[in-house]
Symmetry: C2
């Protein structure tokens, strides 16, 4: 069975030494002293290691079942869910007014990484609930909040998001689900939704579906979409459960991965729904949760890669095969461990340097969200909105690639399901697709986020990189290995932006044809920046001698790898971008 | 259900217009006139489309079963196998002395692409048989050839290769399977082999296992390994089937993909084996088949990607979602088809330009094998030996990546098994692992093939590129789009080679740490060369006006895409290589 060890030290390093959480001046962050975050992370780490990880492989093999209209989750999921509820883990960053613990989002994100690494499919049940909680918390009436939030904070009731229909996913303006206004102020919801994660299961007594639908007579297309609360079981005025609502599961999908999470076809047949927020403003309500939701998927990308990496390392140290070319390193054994071979190390270093960079990037993103929500900082909101498609698109593409790289270390055993390495790759694959396929993220980045506010957010990003470089100008220890490569990569990103400005004016396809490469270029610059920051933090601690010197040196060595071996990708992305639309658009449709 | 259309025109273009098969002066190639190859390809294409492709998804879903010691293949496989046998497709390039049709290997390769695209798992039953046939044909005694080959050419009996054991795959010197000499000249084979593709099934009345084992008292390690013929059912002197041999299936593996092919644990319990070739020279016997076997796996990589690509195109033209940014292209419909979006085209062009380049590369490789075997051309043998790890490693890495890219076009539907796109990615994944994991291919390339014969083969490769560039020096139509990028990429490859020579002397890890990037760099140069040749051939035909102008123009446009968007990767690979061993080797093992 695959192993998992919670990376407490690495998470603490990012929270405390890179993001300086407790001193960042964000309301609520004063609680995040090192001892406190360590205690929380260790407790969550234990649950991840001991409760969630042991159910990952079995959950994949067993999958969810759909019999007689009822969905059941794999063996052990119900007890594990109870552990999460009992420990208050589902309530960590929720509003204390509704039973939450009110912790910063950044801490919930650090905890969430471990839960996802240990068991991604399982963690989706509470993850989706959190998304639905946020929507109701932001857009609900006081009565709605009182009716639903306490039960959702505790995960006695779980939540879902219903967007996709058979004929439309990305283009929700084509939606057919209808909401007919009733005399009592409710709506009758009728239609079919597909790909509904955690759409039904046996872990909670009620499920609160958030459903996008059109009210007849409203505006055409995406502007005529409204959001509704549609409980599986109707809730009486006294809060007790009433009659079953007109919502049922059509089937559960057989998928490539995340078998432990039920992906449902949901049929709404004159189900009672309650308008959430304003009529016809459903998409706006969805958008307010989008940064968090997409950051959460980016997190899944690297968190699964972390679990896969840990197993690849274990195998590379354990499996004896061949001899080091520079002389036997295990002369008394029949062969040397895999890890002596340079190409195995190259592969492991790719994984390690990605995961650690991605962790810092994601937690920085979570801190930006806190700074926006808790400190009302508009610049932070602009920055995270700019970075969200990069977090989602880049981290999930690389997360899948790295999960597959970890699988490769196992040779043939990586292809056999009982070793669990195939599962990591299969699970990671969905993250590139859901919550906006990565091509849509690239489009969002180039078509919407770059030009937003006259380019102010992206200028602020460049300014931030520039300031960092300037602040560390005299740092000879960082110069060649970190600052110079970061400067070069950032310059590539700026050149790409300038190309879009100049050429996109002439033909928008000149920008859009390069959008995917731009998203990756941006991602590399972000991870390069994170590595430069981590190296700086490690170096500072090495100088004071306050930290674990071996750990800190390993950080710097890992960062050097990223800068030397991964950051050179920016040149290729720039070259592709600058080739413009012609190579992409010239071929007549008939010749594909 | 996924679609498949045999790409006859593209295969013909490579065989006739790029490789000039009929005029290449290789013995037996005079048969390969355009009309003849078209007829063969069309017939094989029909079987691929009508018999094999319809069983691909169902074969994956049903998988193989192992009950009461007996392995059964998915529904319909037996009838399809009979069709292959009846049509003589299993005998296409086999020796006429044993019932084969004696066609060049290049034609069998072109046919094989279609069979693999249509149903990779199914095609492995005959593919493995062909490998075993080749081993016996090359190393067997006349009596062995007479006893086994006719039945293997017809696939009345199939074959397998037994190398891997639980504790050793790449490092076969650690092998434990034993072969005890008997008084009658036979051997008693005892041991366990794993990952035996087509190790047992219900498609043939006998299975001829080729098994590597050690004869006690022989040299240690890899030099003491011998190869044995171990039939499932013993063959009497008159050719009739006798008693069951001491070989049985322990279990079949549950794998990520190729579910239609039974991957078996094989237990040999004092089974009767017959020495094939010389004692202790088993690895040498395996090596003589290695170029073909690895080219065959490289072919699987791009052939699966071709099938995935065809489906991605179908969906991109069919699925309506969003509007073209330059104005609606389907104004009467509710939305435009996906293919109007630049990033969807970028994705499809990545796939298309890879598959077509890979096809040309593979068929050129097959032609080199024919030139070596049929014309006794040592230079061709050297060249294909050099290129084999590139064909295997690069085409399978990219084949998987492109299958996953095709899956991405489907959005959420790509993750649902019933659409079949997940299967292409899952099936393609094994090609990076078996027949030598791709890291081992990179090691073979840099550690063995580059320095072989004092570097003569790689010098010949560079000379060939140089000649091509020189021969086309004045060709202004090709210069900017094809010749200049090829020249730049080839220069990167040369610089990488020089870096290895200079730095590898000081520390072999300086070369090995860059081996994987070198393999990819080499692969891009090969595909760049292939695209330049294809563009030249297309351009020449456009000038004469003899061909299908639209088809030829599409070739040039597709090639331009590869040169502009894919070839720039060579710069990044070179930068990584030139960063040397330090970033890869510096981290202490304890800190992974």
């Amino acid at each position: 069975m695959p192993i998992y060890t919670a990376p407490i030290k690495d998470l603490q390093f990012v929270l405390q030494d890179v993001l300086n959480a407790a001193d960042s001046g964000i309301p609520g962050y004063d609680e995040l002293e090192a001892d406190f975050t360590a205690a929380v992370l260790e407790e969550a780490g234990k649950i991840s290691e001991q409760v969630l990880a042991p159910l990952n492989l079995s959950g994949d093999r067993e999958g969810c079942r759909f019999e007689n209209g009822v969905v059941s989750t794999p063996k052990g999921f119900d007890q594990a869910f109870q552990v999460m509820k009992d420990g208050g883990w589902t309530a960590l960053d929720c509003d204390p007014d509704y039973g939450g613990q009110g912790m910063p989002y950044v801490l919930a994100t650090a905890v969430g990484e471990m839960f996802v690494s240990a068991n991604m499919a399982f963690n989706m049940y509470q993850g989706l609930t959190h998304g639905a909680y946020s929507a109701i918390h932001t857009h609900g009436t006081d009565a709605q909040k009182a009716a639903y939030l306490p039960k959702m904070v505790s995960c006695d009731w779980t939540g879902t998001m219903n967007l996709t229909e058979p004929h439309c996913g990305t283009d929700l303006g084509l939606m057919r689900t209808r909401a007919l206004p009733q005399d009592d102020g409710t709506y009758q919801i009728t239609g079919q939704k597909i790909f509904i994660s955690a759409g039904d299961h046996d872990l909670a007594e009620n499920i609160i579906h958030l459903v996008l639908a059109k009210i007849p007579g409203g505006p055409d297309g995406i502007k005529g979409v409204s959001l509704f609360i549609v409980p599986k079981v109707l809730v009486n005025e006294d809060g007790s459960l009433g009659a079953r609502n007109g919502v049922s599961v059509g089937k559960i999908e057989e998928k490539m991965g995340i078998h432990g999470n039920a992906t449902c076809v949901m049929n709404y047949d004159a189900a009672t729904g309650y308008l959430l927020g304003e009529a016809h403003k459903g998409m706006r309500a969805m958008f307010t949760m989008m940064n968090e939701a997409r950051l959460g998927v980016g997190l899944q990308g690297y968190a699964v890669a972390e679990a896969a990496y840990q197993n690849a390392v274990f195998y590379a140290k354990d499996r004896l095969q061949g001899r080091a070319v520079t002389g036997a390193e295990n002369p008394d054994g029949p062969a040397d461990p895999l890890i002596v071979h340079p190409d195995i190390r190259r592969n492991l270093m790719d994984q390690k340097s990605f995961v650690e960079g991605a962790r810092a990037f994601t937690l920085w993103g979570a801190q930006l969200i806190d700074r926006s929500h808790r400190a009302g900082d508009d610049a932070a909101e602009d920055m995270i909105s700019l970075l969200t498609p990069v977090l989602k698109g880049f981290l999930t593409d690389k997360g899948f690639e790295m999960s597959s790289a970890a699988q490769q270390v196992y040779g043939g055993h990586g292809y056999i399901e009982e070793w669990g390495m195939s599962q990591f790759a299969r699970d990671a694959r969905i993250t590139m697709i859901y919550e906006g396929a990565n091509g849509v993220q690239a489009l969002d980045l180039v078509g919407r986020k770059l030009p937003s506010k006259g380019g102010k957010p992206v200028m602020a990003f460049f300014e931030m990189v520039k300031s960092f470089l300037k602040d560390n100008e005299g740092n000879e220890a960082l110069k060649a290995d970190f600052l110079d490569p970061l400067k070069a990569a950032s310059k590539h990103l700026q050149e790409a932006g300038m190309y879009f400005m100049a050429q996109g004016m002439k033909n928008p396809n000149n920008a859009l044809a390069g959008s995917y490469d731009f998203m990756h270029l941006f991602g590399h610059v972000c991870l390069g920046l994170m590595w430069a920051r981590m190296a700086k933090a490690a170096q500072a601690q090495l100088e004071t001698g306050d930290g674990d010197n071996e750990f800190l040196k390993a950080k710097i060595i890992t960062g050097r790898y990223y800068m030397a071996r991964q950051l050179p990708m920016t040149a290729t992305h720039l070259a592709r971008i600058q080739s413009g639309a012609a190579p992409v658009m010239d071929l007549d449709e008939a010749h594909f």
